[in-house]
Subunit: 596 residues, 2 copies
């Protein structure tokens, strides 16, 4: 397993130089987030990620979680690492000050989260999953509920989960069956079985706060009859066991270090949170956040796999460069001389470093939404979030998986062997295209719900920032990026209207075009961020006093942007043609005639 | 794990209807291969694959091979299945009659091999790996060597391996170090360590025949100093143990049921086969065969994953069709109503069923090479083999992996859970892009060695069959396929010349374009086979007397071809643009500046 080394220079470049975090924090009134403090947090956080979490990544895969006598045991070292994490005050970074949090912006927690996630995705999910529960409590909890649960989640003393899926339904929550029956004291008896509960049970904390979707008696069928409940693993009153038991944990392709639990609720005591029958709507409020968290897995997979593959490519000898020996004193050249190895490395680099900017940008929109910014600013941030979240989730996990596979590929046969760890990254990454809504679901969300439902209005917020960027940076050097970017975002806007017209005549056309539409959107969005990166680098290079090292750093950014525009962006050509091929070629075949 | 059901109707369609195997066998004088006999073999073979091998597929993954006290134990049931396989006479199907074989054409063994491979890839590798040893012995062995070894390999009493890779070299065999020192009796003492030896040790047979690459004393350095040796695990003279020991077996991402061995040769007794220092050249003779075998893994992965995903998509309920409920009596529609699920299923179907025809076609070229056909026919067959083999190997494994991933994706979160078996298919499939030469190596082989080295002459054999096909089938119904196919094969030929000119000026351009060139070539080649499939179906539909079921079968082929042309073939647009972007964007970045 590659040892994780936090790319601090690159993270700072993305955060401060490309996205100008300092101005951003001033604008939203987050004066606490000074650069010095942030750098200190990043420095300490990276040590924790590198020294404590990274060495446990392979351990987690090898040992997995154990389930014996109804108890889940996490891999050796996981529990101790969590203790350290809590003692370091990390869980409370962006928490509300009223409940023990440090009140820093969420975008800052995102940067910390990147390091934790990349060093050890399975471990990071334990504190990560608490987020949904925290957000639910923060927005819908009573003051008493907040005092009881939110403060413990903020400190990290307890963790939380979101219990949605049941055996018969994941995507289609309208089919869920878990029941909630009222008790005389205002609490409820929750009964049903939930599956695929990430971090659903473990031995790291003494209590776990489950947020459970269930139906009240006589609730309407479908999605309009779902309510939310708080169900603690242990009673907060007397510390007795609630009737929530872990039935088993799943044997999975990857993320072995994280327990994916079947949770059986057998008249467990729960407390209503949020409006009756309004549970699904409440959930959707936080969907963006959870999906952005999963998008991070794409970046994390690309980054970790890139680190491993780059070191190997610089070290492993095979064949000579087609241009003649580059290292004649060695028995063969290191494989980084070969164009196709570089193609794979540069693709990984594009996804990791471009995706990083993409996700930080989204996190900053989240900051704006939770700040004292003007209504207008918030409206823009919300529109950007709405459109960019499904893109980030699906596009970055699809390309992150591709990048992880390239890392294995660069190792040749060794990539397939467990001890190198490259195949673990692929196995771990694979789930990112499935949970928090599959790629297909993100694509429907994007095209159907986020774009077409308001006639492209939200999308125009996205193309508008691209327009402004192109207008404001029309330098000679930037032409190679500005020209194709302008053409693309105009094309994007243009054919969205065309798709909308097609969909009005035949709604199925949305489903036929959606995934190609999403991937196209992803490539264009990432092109925007790579143009912004190149622009930042060009401006920095105007300063003649920078060191040789810094000069090379900025030049590497421009060259990578060029690679992206020349070798990755042309994929839009295929997606465009395919999405306009019409849904008929998909629907023509009778369901019984796929195999005869 | 999906239970494998041999798609006999589809195999027969590919073999007899599209590729007209009967005429083929008449032409090459293989009268023994009558249709009745072949059908009987397929019927029996499919039973063995479905009833014996398929149930062991998951067992092999779960148990894996064990290595204890220097001994490899295969998963429960593997040994017994192998015994049955030998008793059934299956290994000898295409073996030479002089050494106990049944003398049937290799293409027939390929059809059997498809069933074995799809039912249980890990198991199929044990008899499969014998092929390289058999071919080596058949072509280069002395009569005595053939009597001793080839007859035992043909009957299946023993298995064989190919021992190429060492820790420091896989792709670049010029770096290999294993030594062969002469003994007084004409034999050699072989010393060195080989890794990644598939089926390298096991408990299924009492002996294993290793074909080992090693260097004679004073042999020239690099690839021109490599010779081939036969090294049996047990001495054939006295049954004593030779000094070959299994040092360990690898822990791999997949194919757990097949032992990937480290073999230590410690002055093991070996026998030279083929010319001194000519070993690598001998190896290359059989490369096409081994690579075609790996190409089959792409088809097998797509097929098995398709079978699992199709059943699930017809059964699993979620959401309603965007066109309105299709099954209003059910709580939700089966997911096969959703366009994006169909997109994934149809992609799998295209790769499995089109790839099947592709591989059978290549196998038939192999038949011609080993028949009494005219020199002209053989020259054509050889040119087709040379060009199509790297395409089949890399393109079908890349798209086979994509197809396997779609199978998982259709299962949603359940796809990630081991018990469904869909993730095993992905893990098993992943190695196919690595062994027998990575995708990058196939691409260099195709563009550099097979196409440009003879100025596109071999390629013209391929485009010529497409040209003839288009010319001969200019019906009205076929226009939708003929037109784009004609445009594409002309474009393919045209830009190959352009690439050749670029490469003459700068050899690195080959490496910069090769993988995109290969993928482009793959999509065009598969387009040809899908056009041939559609054409066969259209001709069959002219017969008014066929059953309703048969009519639907042929129509499904035409609809699938249409899907391929509309939704898969446009990928050529991106590959074309990317391969002409030039190698500069890959080479510009200093090797030390990939991460700073």
């Amino acid at each position: 397993m590659p040892e994780y080394k936090a790319p601090l220079r690159d993270m700072q470049f993305a955060f401060y130089e490309v996205l100008q975090a300092e101005q951003h924090y001033q604008r939203i009134g987050a004066e606490d987030a000074s650069r010095d403090m942030v750098d200190a947090i990043l420095g300490e956080g990276s040590k924790f990620a590198e020294e404590v979490l990274s060495p446990l990544n392979r351990v987690g895969d090898e040992q997995g979680c154990k389930f014996e006598d109804g108890q889940v045991t996490t891999p050796a070292g996981f529990k101790q690492a969590y203790k350290q994490f809590v003692e370091g005050g990390w869980p409370s970074l962006a928490g509300e000050t009223e409940y023990g949090g440090q009140g820093l912006p969420e975008s800052l927690a995102t940067v910390l989260n990147e390091m934790v996630s990349t060093a050890n995705w399975s471990w990071g999910m334990y504190p990560g999953l608490s987020h949904g529960a925290k957000l639910t409590l923060s927005k819908y909890g009573s003051e008493e509920q907040k005092q009881t649960y939110l403060s413990k989640l903020t400190s990290g003393e307890w963790t939380g989960t979101m219990c949605l899926t049941e055996a018969q339904c994941g995507t289609d929550l309208g089919l869920l069956k878990t029941k909630a029956e009222p008790n005389a004291d205002g609490s409820f008896r929750i009964s049903g079985s939930k599956i695929f509960i990430s971090a659903g049970d473990h031995d790291m904390t003494e209590n776990i706060v489950h947020i459970v979707l269930a139906r009240l008696p006589d609730a309407p069928g479908g999605t309009r009859g779902i309510s939310l409940f708080i169900v603690p693993k242990m009673s907060v009153e007397d510390g007795s066991t609630n009737n929530v038991s872990c039935g088993s944990i799943e044997h999975k392709m990857g993320i072995h270090g994280n327990a994916t639990a079947v949770l059986n609720f057998d008249e467990a005591t729960g407390y209503l949170i949020g409006p009756e029958n309004g549970g699904l709507k409440c959930m959707f409020t936080f969907m963006n956040f959870a999906r952005l968290g999963t998008a991070m897995q794409g970046v994390a997979s690309a980054e970790l796999s890139f680190q491993g593959a780059l070191a190997y490519a610089q070290d492993r000898l095979a064949m000579r460069s087609l241009a003649g020996p580059k290292f004649p004193e060695k028995p063969a050249d290191p494989i980084i001389v070969h164009p196709d190895v570089r193609r794979m490395l540069l693709t990984q680099k594009c996804i990791a470093e471009g995706g990083r900017v993409f996700i930080y940008f989204c996190a900053m929109q989240g900051d704006i939404l939770h700040s004292q910014a003007s209504e207008e600013e918030k409206a823009e941030a919300e529109a950007l979030m709405n459109v960019l979240t499904p893109i980030a989730k699906a596009f970055l996990t699809e390309t992150g998986y591709e990048a992880a596979n390239y890392g294995m590929q660069i190792f040749g046969g060794h990539g397939y062997i467990a001890e190198w760890g490259m195949e673990q990254i692929v196995r771990d990454a694979r789930i990112s295209m499935l949970y928090e809504g599959t790629t297909g679901i993100q694509a429907l969300d994007l095209l159907g719900r986020k774009v077409l439902s308001n006639r492209g209005e939200s999308l125009r917020f996205v193309t508008r920032i691209m327009h402004r960027f192109c207008r404001d940076n029309e330098t000679k050097g930037m032409q190679e990026f500005i020209k194709p970017l302008r053409k693309l975002y105009k094309e994007w806007g243009g054919f969205t209207t065309k798709l909308g017209l097609k969909a009005m005549r035949k709604p199925e056309e949305v489903g036929g075009a959606s995934v190609d539409y999403l991937m196209y959107s992803g490539y264009v969005t990432l092109a925007y961020f790579w143009a912004a990166i190149a622009n930042t680098a060009m401006l920095a290079l105007q300063d003649n006093t920078i060191s040789k090292q810094e000069k090379a750093y900025y030049e590497s950014k421009i060259k990578t942007a060029r690679f992206y525009y020349k070798r990755i962006l042309p994929r839009t050509r295929s997606h465009k043609e395919i999405m306009f091929s019409g849904v008929k070629n998909l629907m023509d075949l009778d369901a019984d005639h796929f195999r005869m």
